[in-house]
Amino acid sequence: MSKTFTLDGKTIPFKDGQTIIQAALEAGYYIPHLCYHPEFKPHGSCKLCTVKVNGRQTASCTMLAAEGQVVESETPELNEERRALTQMLFVEGNHFCPSCEKSGDCQLQATAYHLGMMSTHYDHFFPNRPLDASHPDFLLDFNRCILCSLCVRASRDVDGKNVFALAGRGIKTRLIVNAKSGRLADTDFAATDKAASVCPVGVILPKRRGFAVPIGQRTFDKQPIDAYVDNRMVREEG
């Protein structure tokens, strides 16, 4: 008989070594998240997957599941905090959904919709982040970076290239390209890299694709993000 914990009253089975979010998603139960990806080691930075385990808050992507845990996720309190975190992500960057080609395929946007975010609430930072269009096939629009580090992990752990890195500390943390010039064109980044398709927002974009997929046929036009409980499905379709 498998081990279980309860998530919002539902019994969730898990295998030893699984985190709470892994077991929950496998059981078809959505916990909001941005920096978590089932193919990579957890980063635990976005904190959207925060749940209460036996009354104490913790990131469900780093917390191992254990027998008998009482986990709460879909509570007004937690969703309010998730909404605030999402709003902060929106104001830290320049997220102009109306003209963003990732609109409809963007996990940040879809998560905001899921959480019922009606405005950005906080003052915008309006950072000045020039694009890197140096690569012939890919564009980097740093305005939309949420520092999830998925590209860093994919390039390092899967592609073996270390094209991307997070530099700086705290509020000054930023995504950089690992080249003396700082330009993507001066790396060995390639369209076939895992890092080329892992970005949950609109930073790493294949050039000249833009709005080729019409409204109505985009990932989250078809169903909301919580219906994609298996995260891999989102990556493939997006």
């Binding site: 080609e101 050039k207 109505g216 046929q217």
Partner: protein
């Protein structure tokens, strides 16, 4: 050009300001300088807001522009969408689109023409025309029209709705869609979508014909006033097809002098700067385009429905062409030179657009799947289209990394800047000279502005209540009298 642009001794004059007049998604104002005998010495329509799109498009990837640029406007975003897409066609070397792509874009454009013209005429202007410019302000709005002329109001709403549906089906959304992409479109029509539109299109044609006849009746009933209202002479500019036909999506530039002579014809718009230049004046953020050959003083011109209907040789759809011939012949051609003739011409264009939609819906190319083409990459893209309000020019330079490095947009309202100023000046002379400032007077000025550009009047009637303030200020700067209309429609002294 009227001599009322700049008074010789403004310091001695009283200033009347209409501030704000609503403008293209923003604010404009009219200022009038009067002497002690209320003689008009200076009238200006100022566009006082700065948008900056040309600047913040810079640095963005070119394929984003057809979606970003339409955010300029919520009324005719499709026009900006298509003008930008046409410019980007040049960038990627798509010299000739696939039949499906061009026809889907045309369908989208005719849907835009239809909904914008219907909105402008029925929702925004019909209250002035049906009730009179000085009629009771409380009913001078679309709700008043719905109460007194329910069939007209209903037809207006449903005509616009049909146009919006055409846009939704071709662009993905009724406002700010994404259908046109560099080199083509991202979707064609399904049979179900086509059949949905076909079910209603003949009713739309019938109602559009009724709308043309309604304006004609209004002209007949108010012949002298309509012909004289804000009348001025202007050169004209529009796109025409190679055979001289009206073509709102593509063609060459034709300029005609105020005397009817062709100044240039079938000019390749990809070099528009050889024939058009923009002047700048210190009192307005809007530039003043002019025909280079005539210079800034004499070279200003008028664009839009009235110009297009008169400037083409024929309209290539039967009902609209018949109406065009009758319009041009009406009262020995005088209506075709009247500022309020814009409304008549606009309804003829709406009829033409619906006829084009009908023809396209019967063309199986709109169901095709060959959507995109490309060719040799270029660094400069120019897209020109006839937007509902007139000729719209998008011009971009794109660097080798695919980022926009320069953008220049000349929108319809800009082309009509001087023309609108002239119309406002004529109305001020006709109706203001020697009179006290009243709401009805203000509305006469707005009626003249509205004839050109519903973007200027949309804030007026979208809510039904445009906030306005008029002040009479003496030579020492003291306010002599003041009349304000608040956003809730109430008046205060």
């Amino acid at each position: 050009m009227s001599t009322l642009e700049t008074a010789e001794h403004p310091e001695k004059l009283r200033r009347v300001a209409i501030d704000p007049v609503s403008r293209v998604e923003g604010h404009g104002k009219v200022t009038i300088l009067l002497d002690d005998n209320n003689k008009v010495h200076q009238v200006r329509l100022h566009i006082v807001e700065f948008r900056g799109f040309e600047k913040f498009i810079q640095g963005r990837p070119y394929w984003e522009v057809p979606v970003m640029a339409p955010r300029l406007c919520g009324i005719c975003p499709v026009s900006h969408h298509l003008a930008a897409a046409k410019a980007m066609d040049m960038i990627i070397g798509a010299e000739r689109l696939t039949p499906t792509a061009e026809k889907i874009r045309r369908l989208m454009h005719y849907g835009q023409i239809m909904q914008s013209h219907a909105l402008h005429f029925f929702h925004l202007c019909s209250p002035d025309l049906l009730f009179g410019f000085s009629s009771e302000v409380a009913r001078r709005n679309i709700v008043g029209v719905a109460a007194e002329y329910p069939d007209i109001a209903r037809q207006g709403v449903l005509l616009r709705k049909f146009g919006q549906e055409v846009i939704r089906i071709t662009a993905g959304k009724r406002i700010h869609g994404t259908g046109a992409i560099p080199g083509g479109v991202n979707k064609a029509l399904t049979r179900e979508e086509r059949d949905t539109l076909l079910a209603d299109v003949y009713q739309m044609i019938a109602w559009s014909r009724d709308a043309v006849h309604l304006v004609r009746r209004l002209f007949e009933q108010n012949l002298e006033e309509y012909n004289a209202f804000g009348r001025f002479r202007a050169h004209q500019l529009s796109l025409v097809r190679a055979d001289g036909a009206m073509d709102l999506y593509h063609g060459g530039l034709r300029a005609r002098s105020m005397d009817g002579d062709i100044l240039f014809d079938h000019f390749d718009y990809r070099h528009y700067w050889d024939v058009i230049f923009e002047d700048v004046k210190s009192w307005s953020y809007m530039k003043f385009p002019f025909l280079r050959s005539l210079g800034p003083e004499r070279g200003w011109y008028r664009v839009g429905p009235l110009t297009r209907v008169a400037n083409c040789d024929f309209i290539p759809t039967p009902f609209a062409d018949k109406e065009r011939c009758e319009f041009l012949a009406f009262d020995d051609g005088r209506a075709a030179g009247a500022t309020l003739g814009f409304h008549w011409a606009r309804m003829i264009e709406m009829l033409h657009a619906v006829e084009c939609i009908k023809d396209l819906l019967h063309d199986d190319d709109i169901l095709g799947d060959d959507l995109v083409t490309s060719g040799e990459r270029a660094g400069r893209g120019v897209g020109v289209i006839e937007a509902p309000r007139g000729t719209l020019i998008h011009h971009y330079r794109v660097d080798e990394n695919d980022l926009v490095i320069r953008a220049n947009l000349i929108v319809s309202t800009t082309h009509n800047n001087q023309a609108m100023n002239e119309a406002v000046r004529q109305v001020a002379i006709q109706y203001l000279d020697g009179h006290e400032v009243t709401e009805a007077l203000l509305n006469h000025i707005e009626v003249a502005i509205r004839a050109f550009d519903p973007c200027l009047s949309c804030a007026t009637h979208a809510l039904g209540k445009m906030p306005l303030e008029v002040e009479l200020v003496d030579a020492e700067g003291s306010v002599v009298s003041r009349l304000a209309k608040s956003s809730d429609g109430s008046f205060s002294a």
